[in-house]
Assembly symmetry: C2
Homo-oligomer: 108 residues x 2
Amino acid sequence: METGHTGWSPEERHLAKQAVDLAYEREVSSLITALHHKISEVSCPGDVWNLHDYLSAKRHEMDGKFDLRDSSLLFVFATLVKDGLLSVGELDGLDREKVVKITALARM
Amino acid sequence: METGHTGWSPEERHLAKQAVDLAYEREVSSLITALHHKISEVSCPGDVWNLHDYLSAKRHEMDGKFDLRDSSLLFVFATLVKDGLLSVGELDGLDREKVVKITALARM
């Protein structure tokens, strides 16, 4: 498998992008469900601003969580597996050594 | 009516606080209704972040809109009247000259 100087082959990068997109869709779907629930309980100004704070924190967290730079990908996948947004099986096609590293990092 | 050096008597300040609180409650109530409507239309990531942007802008706008400093109050009341969050009649008890100024500013 040709990985070039980055350590990620074009095929792996394509697979990585698909897997990260899938995890992102799952996280957003779960966020939308949480939002429906939270908004149904909003009844005073404090609740509204707590909801805004929640969304601000979530956006900040997600901006970092789905970082597609090659240098971040192993840690990104480890976090996504740890958070239940991806299974190790969904990383089939990546270099075996990367999957072993991701699995080990996800257990930490 | 004793207004001191600020131009607002303690009675007027008390009335002003009550009126601003009332307008704030109305604005929040309308914001909560808007939130319920908006969440029902959220279905993709872009919608979630648009909702966050909407809340950020609303919070920023409201932080300035309900400023209780004496120096801001005439403009604050003019905006609240203009935005339909208070009626001029709800300012009864304020110095007549202030009500005239607020009414004029609200029409601009």
